[in-house]
Symmetry: C2
Subunit: 117 residues, 2 copies
């Protein structure tokens, strides 16, 4: 169980998701300058997300110009709702709006098809 959070983090960074349907949260953000505690909290949230019920995997990339995209995959809309309402995650969301992000978008979608190369 102690390695649970690693089950979904492939070396390549591409999540090994099950057969659709399942759900994806696409979080696209523009960071403010400086770290301001962001790095530590991001790592903490990544670990915490990966042990939530219904978590299927996550993929993340941040460009040198500050734009980042994180896509997390979930079994159900309820799993997404529960993660959004997690108290530690709510604190991080507040800090996100006040300190870390100049702007962001969140899109919740139902994955219908996937293929891998």
């Amino acid at each position: 169980m102690s390695n649970h959070s690693n089950d979904h983090h492939e070396p390549s960074g591409i999540a090994k998701t099950p057969e659709p349907p399942y759900y994806a949260v696409v979080f696209t953000s523009l960071r403010t300058p400086g770290d301001n505690g962001y790095g530590d909290m991001a790592e903490q949230m990544s670990k915490l997300a990966s042990v939530q019920p219904g978590f299927l995997g996550v993929e993340s990339a941040r460009d040198s110009d500050g734009i980042g995209i994180t896509v997390s995959y979930w079994e159900s809309l309820d799993a997404i709702k529960n993660w959004k309402a997690n108290p530690l995650h709510l604190t991080a969301q507040d800090k996100g709006r006040t300190d870390w992000y100049a702007s962001y978008s969140v899109r919740i979608s139902r994955v219908e098809r996937q293929y891998f190369f």
Copy 2:
């Protein structure tokens, strides 16, 4: 009309999508080392995608470790199918598998909800 391809590229890199429902293609990839003509083709494909019928916007980030995520947004599954079958895009897809990508995933999903900050 000559600026059409810029309509969907916001300065922040966050796409201005319409009210859901619409569709998202999440393309997550791991690059091979070296450019090998990738940069030019990526720019060409980005321009070509943005003038396809049903194109709504695109967001893209690539990490320094080689993982990249590009999310393109579309009005319909048919618009996605047409773009996938575009002859120039098919050529790029072939080169992607032979030259540019060590691995990738493609996920087609229906966006149900979105919010912006």
